[in-house]
Subunit: 373 residues, 2 copies
Amino acid sequence: MTTPGTFEILNSDPSSSARRGRLWTAHGPVDTPVFMPVGTQATVKAMTPLELDETGAEIILGNTYHLNIRPGIDIIEKCGGLHRFMGWNKPILTDSGGFQVFSLSGLRKIKPDGVEFSSHVDGTKLFLGPREAMDIQRRLGSDIMMAFDECTPYPCTYEYACQAVTRTLSWAALCAELHPRNGQLLFGIVQGGEFADLRARCARELTAMGFDGYAVGGVSVGEPEPVMLEAVRNGVVELPVNRPRYLMGVGVMRQLVESVSLGIDMFDCVMPTRYARHGTAITKARRYPVKAGEYKEDTRPVEEGCDCYCCRNFTRAYVRHLFNVNEILGVRLLSIHNLHQMTMLMRGMRAALDGGRFGDFKQEFLEANKEDR
Amino acid sequence: MTTPGTFEILNSDPSSSARRGRLWTAHGPVDTPVFMPVGTQATVKAMTPLELDETGAEIILGNTYHLNIRPGIDIIEKCGGLHRFMGWNKPILTDSGGFQVFSLSGLRKIKPDGVEFSSHVDGTKLFLGPREAMDIQRRLGSDIMMAFDECTPYPCTYEYACQAVTRTLSWAALCAELHPRNGQLLFGIVQGGEFADLRARCARELTAMGFDGYAVGGVSVGEPEPVMLEAVRNGVVELPVNRPRYLMGVGVMRQLVESVSLGIDMFDCVMPTRYARHGTAITKARRYPVKAGEYKEDTRPVEEGCDCYCCRNFTRAYVRHLFNVNEILGVRLLSIHNLHQMTMLMRGMRAALDGGRFGDFKQEFLEANKEDR
């Protein structure tokens, strides 16, 4: 077993910053670039761990904020940690709760050592800061912990973004100090909004603290795509080449390909499973509503040529019927298909990087995918 | 391949009317006594065909009434029939729609050749009678078709039950005449409410028409258990020994054991999947609400000693959490468990019959299960 935290760069694309890597965790290796399905409440929605494994998922994400509220850390700890609680034996990354505190909770009060807020479930007063986030993630037993940060909205003034970077850095320093170094990795998060100098400063100072990996946060919060990609560019440039980089909350296929070429290794997004719940299929060529009436007699699979369980066994007419009559199986089949699609895209990128043809892959992909997916 | 319709009686219990059988259909054999999970809308709720297979299901039920409304028979036929539409390659029994017409639909008008009624979905005027039911079931391609009957409510006057039997017999005769004899089997349905002479007359006259099998219908419609078991006794006594017998809509474990001892071979019920959706587990010893707060820290499986996917991999605390936060996986795991329980009960009865110890099995089971499940 290779030491957790080891990040091997197996190959690099000469024409971009894309790289093919392997990150070792306490629950085994993760081949990058990788997409991480989101298991907010200790379940990737509508999927069993077995099915997740079959879609080719290598690592999933859990949410500190949500799990801390329900079922609570005591219960998960009593059940042997998050892996055993949810029956997933491969790596898990947990976020720090920062994003949810700033996007989901009610009345917030930012204090030097964290944030006081109201639970989105029942309004209970709660407190989350670097100490709490580290303690919870340690007890969850995640393979990759995230430092507690302040996620700024879009748009946001320079002054506010600057203050948030200062707070994020001071909280990151405390997280680094509290890092148990027990095989659980710790990633720092680059904030700074759309401001190049703030992104660069944040990245530089985090790098000086020496994390196992680095994330670009505060993106995919409503900003236009060029602004997002610019933030990635500005965040990445000051990060060490030999450490994994994770772009938080991004899952549009085209953005994944663009971001990999900017040097990103890891992604997470709720989109594949959220689209599935709304009856929308993600395919190589487009995104379309299988639940629409026009597919009611369509005897083709959801995506021709796809070898997922849904496409191997069922027609669009059947999946459309399931949504039309509100059957859970519809959501299940599209969740399987959509997650499989994400895996296939990441595998495609990894194979292109292994074969030294990522430039061609990217060009072909972007030509064929001008639409948001 | 043995001819569809062949019913082998492999063993009989000397102390009761219970028998161990095997019914051959166009999609293979069904070992009896058997429990048939219900796939009302071309899906057993929350389950894939693969998972159904893993629970040990040998045959499932589809609903003519529902499938005729949505998605409609044209679409299912275009997709190659019900088996291919829903991806289930083992036997399917379809009901005739009679039960739903009488229990679910709006304003009804009974006519000599069937029933005019309003769709429960959008109020559309529809008509279903023996001709329509036979045509739809033929096109669905079910392995076992049911004759179109009139299901009487409980309580019901003798006069009304008598008229319903007369109509059921005349419709059954027409169904028998329309039977395509293409490998699809046709079962007649014994009605007659709680009246012994009507049940006996109906059974005798149906037997004279010569069906592939016989069902006892109009039970589990709100009557007390002794009334139900009496109706079974009265229905069965006049049926031919060498043909399979199906008790419609019964799924309480104790009633299954009692009915097998009265000579019933087949059962269907929505209960296992309905309980699952409501967070209730069926176990050998009892029925209990896993979703209740008292299980929130319970690290035992849903049922100790159970080898289903749910019990092999997850705790009550986890399943309870999933229900508490409205995650689909909770319904899925309990559906798997509850259907597995039904299969295990039927396997237990078959093994007891094979081993010549059904009397002991029944006694032990009834001692341990005084509660409704």
